[in-house]
Structures are given as structure tokens and as C-alpha cells.
């Protein structure tokens, strides 16, 4: 115990802050992941089917959606936070705490999820879609049975990348008052020069990222036939 107090004195002193920070980070990760998937996946489907070479080509919808996704992908996340502070206040009546983080996190992540899911679906060979058309499947049936089901490993791989990126963004929203591990690192590790806190936060983030990666790899293996 003595050696620990020597090595990481501040971490010991403020150890009561860590559980909450970890929980906040995990909640932000989970909520952002789920909601972004629920919005991003349908967007990806619409992009894939309305493409010029898709099963229901529609130039207008494709063009607008495609550009929209690109636009939001291009905005740096740190700019997204102030940009969205008004809608955030309007939805949650607050711009501090964990709730304020959801709007920028989700808005920033949805286009990323959409692109990842789109490329997973694009990996399905064209011939498989054609075979399905030739079997008399309707566009909706093709979406359900082919696009959504035939490259699940690719989708999981995409989501793994997304979630790891979200960890980084959660750390950023922490700096503007959303809580979580990033918040600890900034307020204590940086502003009060408590380096040991920074390193322990870093270590915890690496653990979370490794777990995401391991679970992702395991699921990919489970779903690859």
C-alpha cells in the first residue's frame, strides 16, 4: 500500500472519482453506439439501395444523403460540440454533464457508422444480389436477407472501429464538462499537474479499447462461416 501511495498518490487520494468516471464513459459509449447504429444503419441501407447501380436507384435521394454524410464526416469533432450546443440545450435543457455529450457524440458518430455499414454491405458480391433478384426477391426482402445478413462479420468489424473512435471523442467531450475519464485526465491530470492520474486514465482507456477489440474479434470469428 505504501508503495502505491508513493507511486500514484493522487490516484489514491481521488480514487472515489474513478468508478463514476468509468461508468460515465461506458454509458456514453453504449448509448452513442446503440443510437448511432439505429440511425446509421438505415441511412447506409438507403445509400446502398439508391446508388446508381443499386436495387432501387434514386439519384436525388442518393445525392443528398451521400453529400450530407460526407459533410458531417468532414466537420472536426471539437467544432461539432459548440455547433450543436443550441439543439443540445433545447433537447436536454442543459449543456453540462453527461447528457450534453450525447448530441454531438451521436451526430458525429452516425455518419461514421453509416459509412462503415455501407462499405460492409458493399463487400457482398454483386452476384449474390443478382441471384436474389433472379429468385424473385423484392427489394425489401433483399435488404432483410442479403444486405443485413450476409456480411455480419464486416459489420461487426466496422462497429469495432467506430466504438474505438467514440472512446476518443468521449474523452474530448469530457474536457467541456461531460464527465467521464477524459474529464478526470483534464481537470486533475492536466490542470492540476497530477500526472499519475493522466497515466491511470490512459491505462483504463487502453483496457476498454482492448476489451472492445477482443469482443469484436471474437464476434467476427463466431459469425464467419
Amino acid at each position: 500500500m505504501d508503495t502505491l501511495t508513493n507511486w500514484i498518490p493522487n490516484v489514491i487520494e481521488y480514487s472515489n472519482l474513478f468508478p463514476q468516471a468509468i461508468v460515465d464513459t461506458l454509458i456514453m459509449l453504449f448509448v452513442t453506439g446503440v443510437i448511432s447504429l439505429l440511425i446509421g444503419l438505415p441511412l447506409a441501407i438507403i445509400v446502398v439501395v439508391t446508388k446508381p447501380e443499386g436495387i432501387c436507384p434514386n439519384k436525388t435521394i442518393f445525392f443528398i444523403l451521400d453529400k450530407f454524410i460526407n459533410l458531417f464526416r468532414a466537420i472536426p469533432f471539437v467544432i461539432l460540440i459548440p455547433m450543436l450546443s443550441d439543439p443540445t440545450r433545447w433537447i436536454f435543457h442543459t449543456t453540462i454533464g453527461i447528457k450534453m455529450a450525447f448530441v454531438p457524440l451521436i451526430v458525429g458518430t452516425v455518419p461514421f457508422v453509416a459509412r462503415q455499414m455501407e462499405s460492409a454491405m458493399e463487400e457482398i458480391p454483386e452476384g449474390i444480389v443478382e441471384a436474389s433478384i433472379s429468385m424473385g426477391m423484392s427489394p425489401w426482402q433483399i435488404v432483410r436477407h442479403v444486405y443485413l445478413k450476409q456480411n455480419i462479420p464486416g459489420m461487426i468489424r466496422g462497429m469495432t472501429i467506430v466504438l474505438i473512435a467514440v472512446i476518443g471523442q468521449i474523452a474530448i467531450v469530457g474536457t467541456v464538462g461531460a464527465g467521464g475519464l477524459g474529464d478526470l485526465a483534464i481537470r486533475f491530470g492536466w490542470q492540476r499537474r497530477m500526472n499519475d492520474i493522466t497515466y491511470v486514465v490512459l491505462f483504463l482507456l487502453l483496457v476498454i479499447i482492448s476489451i472492445i477489440q477482443m469482443v469484436g474479434d471474437w464476434l467476427v470469428k463466431k459469425t464467419t462461416h
Binding site: 449474390i128 443478382e130 433478384i133 433472379s134 424473385g136 423484392s138 436477407h145 445478413k149
Partner: protein, 347 residues
């Protein structure tokens, strides 16, 4: 069963328009195996894809079972497609489904009762001889096995027609034979009309009743296989036929001045072609007796097309000019087609 009327399809590409199919009219009659052959890029795939409107023709009609598919509503079109099975060069099975599920998928979507699906899928698994692999995934099968599964999948809706686009091109010769036999069996036992796209004449020879030869988007020749093989008209057709037999090898040998094609003064190299109508009497011994002509055979082959034989002999006739002329006349009288390939010249 399937009738194409003046079908034209043009692709617009960055480098300009590509006319893949130009004014093609063919009629695939019920119960037959119809071959479409042509070199790469001839437009065969585009043509067959027009048959189930995977590719929508720019002009012309696609009549299936009395209905013009180009005019059908999306719902009607999907209904017709279920009656037109299709198999592909690269199988296109769904990778995340087992063999059983791949075959069953189409029925599942129609909410067919489970036991009915099971009976049907098991029956098809028996047909393709893969019952014990039903829970495997496509990635665990060989090419030939995958193609058998895709055939079973195509048959699950009891189609009237089976479209095969280069179904054997990715397979080795032995596996190709198994698949061809299976297709022929399906045609005979289930009465399913088959359209076979291929670039290999032996496939046509093996199982087709009728064939269309395509070149640069057009059908250049079309007819019953026996007619096509025994009386080809177009150069393209002859080229394809020569790929399926050795009988034209002789031209190459002559060009290379191979010893067996070196003729003496009183010799002529001839090609004789006959079918079953003129195999009744012993021609060769007859001419040697009657005209004092010796006949030595260099090459002999017999093709069985739709159970009727087409024979080819390449031989050297030796005798005086008159005698050989008379012998040839005698062959011709019997309906044997004779072509003098080369005459021995006086050095």
C-alpha cells in the same frame, strides 16, 4: 416457353455506347435444352440476363409463358422470376446461410409451412446428392458441390425454365460432366426447359437440342444441333465445331507439312462425313473393289448428337484420277459429304 423478339440492349459507358445485344429474336421451346454459344464479349450473358429482366432490354419483347415481361408490373415480374431459375458461373450462394437454408430461403419468404419446406429441400438435396452436407456452409464446399446447391436452389420454386450462365466454366472437366449430366437429368425427369450459355462447343454437343451462335451481339446462326454440326453455314459456327473435335486438326498438320499429310502423285486427302442414314453399306470396301482405289484412314471420329451419330473420316485415297473421281461420286450418291482437302502433286 421463352421468346425474344427483336431484343436490343445498349450499355452506356464512359468510352461510348456498347451494343451488347443487337436485334436478337429466338424462341426457346418447351422441354428443350437450348444452347447459346459465342466468344467472350459476344453478348451471351447480356442476352440471358434479358430473359429474366436482370437486364432490361432497350427494345424488343421478352415473352415468357405468354406474357411480355417488359410490360409486367414489378409484382408480376417477381412472380415470373420465381418460375425462371438461374444459375451462375460463380454460384452466388449466400455465405451466411447453410446449404439447407440457401435452398429453403425462397420458400421461407413465401411463408410455406415448415414440413412442406423440409420435404422439398430434402428431396432436392437427394437429387444433388448432398444430403449429408446440408448443415455445411458454402465456403466449406467444392466448386462442383456449390454449383449443385445453386441448381437445387434454382429448382425450389418448381421453375419452368432454368437459365445457366457459364454454369460449368469454373469447374474441372470431370465436375463439368457431373453438372451437365445433372442438368440433363433435370430436363428429362422434371421437364424443365434449359437455356445454356457457354463458350465451349463440347457443352453444346453434350446436352443441347438446339443452339444459337452469337457474335458481336447478334445471333449469326441458329438451328437443331444435328443440323448445325453436320451442315454448319457460318464461319463462326465452323470455328466452334472445330474446337469440339480433332477433325480440323488436319488443316494444322497440312500447314505444318506433317509427314502424314505428304501425298504421292496419285493420292488425295479427303474428309468424309456421314450420318446414320448412310452407314448401311460398306462403302470403303466397295470402292476399293469397284474402282481399284486404296483407302488408308488417317483419322476417324464419331459424334453422338441427340442419339444420332455423325461420323467423320479423314483418309488418303490412292488411285488414278478417274477412279478417285468415280469413288467420290459414289460416296456422294450415298449422301456422304466429301471434301477433297489436298491433292498429291507431281514434283
Amino acid at each position: 416457353m421463352i421468346q425474344l423478339e427483336h431484343v436490343t440492349k445498349t450499355f452506356k459507358t464512359k468510352d461510348g455506347d456498347v451494343q451488347a445485344v443487337k436485334d436478337v429474336s429466338i424462341h426457346v421451346k418447351e422441354g428443350m435444352i437450348y444452347g447459346i454459344i459465342g466468344f467472350s464479349g459476344a453478348g451471351k450473358s447480356t442476352l440471358v440476363r434479358c430473359m429474366n429482366l436482370l437486364e432490361r432490354p432497350d427494345e424488343g419483347k421478352v415473352i415468357f409463358d405468354g406474357q411480355d415481361l417488359t410490360q409486367a408490373s414489378p409484382v408480376e415480374l417477381r412472380k415470373s422470376r420465381k418460375k425462371i431459375g438461374m444459375i451462375f458461373q460463380h454460384f452466388n450462394l449466400l455465405p451466411a446461410l447453410t446449404i439447407y437454408e440457401n435452398i429453403a430461403l425462397s420458400l421461407r419468404m413465401e411463408k410455406t409451412p415448415k414440413d412442406e419446406i423440409d420435404a422439398k429441400v430434402m428431396n432436392l438435396l437427394e437429387l444433388i446428392d448432398l444430403v449429408e452436407r446440408k448443415d455445411s456452409y458454402p465456403s466449406q464446399l467444392s466448386g462442383g458441390q456449390k454449383q449443385r446447391v445453386s441448381i437445387a436452389r434454382a429448382l425450389v420454386n418448381d421453375p419452368k425454365v432454368l437459365l445457366c450462365d457459364e454454369a460449368t466454366s469454373a469447374l474441372d472437366p470431370q465436375t463439368t460432366q457431373t453438372i451437365l449430366k445433372l442438368i440433363k437429368r433435370i430436363n428429362k425427369e422434371r421437364g424443365i426447359t434449359v437455356v445454356m450459355i457457354t463458350h465451349e462447343m463440347f457443352v453444346v454437343k453434350e446436352i443441347c437440342d438446339r443452339v444459337a451462335i452469337m457474335d458481336a451481339g447478334r445471333v449469326v446462326e441458329e438451328g437443331d444441333i444435328v443440323d448445325i454440326f453436320s451442315h454448319p453455314q457460318e464461319k463462326m459456327t465452323k470455328e466452334f465445331i472445330s474446337t469440339a473435335s480433332n477433325a480440323n486438326k488436319i488443316d494444322e498438320l497440312i500447314e505444318q507439312q506433317h509427314p502424314i499429310t505428304q501425298l504421292k502423285e496419285n493420292e488425295q486427302l479427303v474428309r468424309l462425313q456421314y450420318d446414320q442414314t448412310n452407314t448401311s453399306h460398306p462403302m470403303i470396301s466397295e470402292i476399293s473393289r469397284k474402282f481399284n482405289v486404296d483407302c488408308s484412314i488417317i483419322y476417324g471420329n464419331i459424334e453422338i448428337l441427340q442419339e444420332s451419330p455423325i461420323g467423320t473420316l479423314i483418309c488418303v485415297l490412292k488411285g488414278s484420277d478417274d477412279d478417285i473421281r468415280n469413288s467420290i461420286a459414289c460416296f456422294k450418291q450415298d449422301g456422304i459429304r466429301v471434301e477433297v482437302i489436298k491433292r498429291g502433286h507431281i514434283d
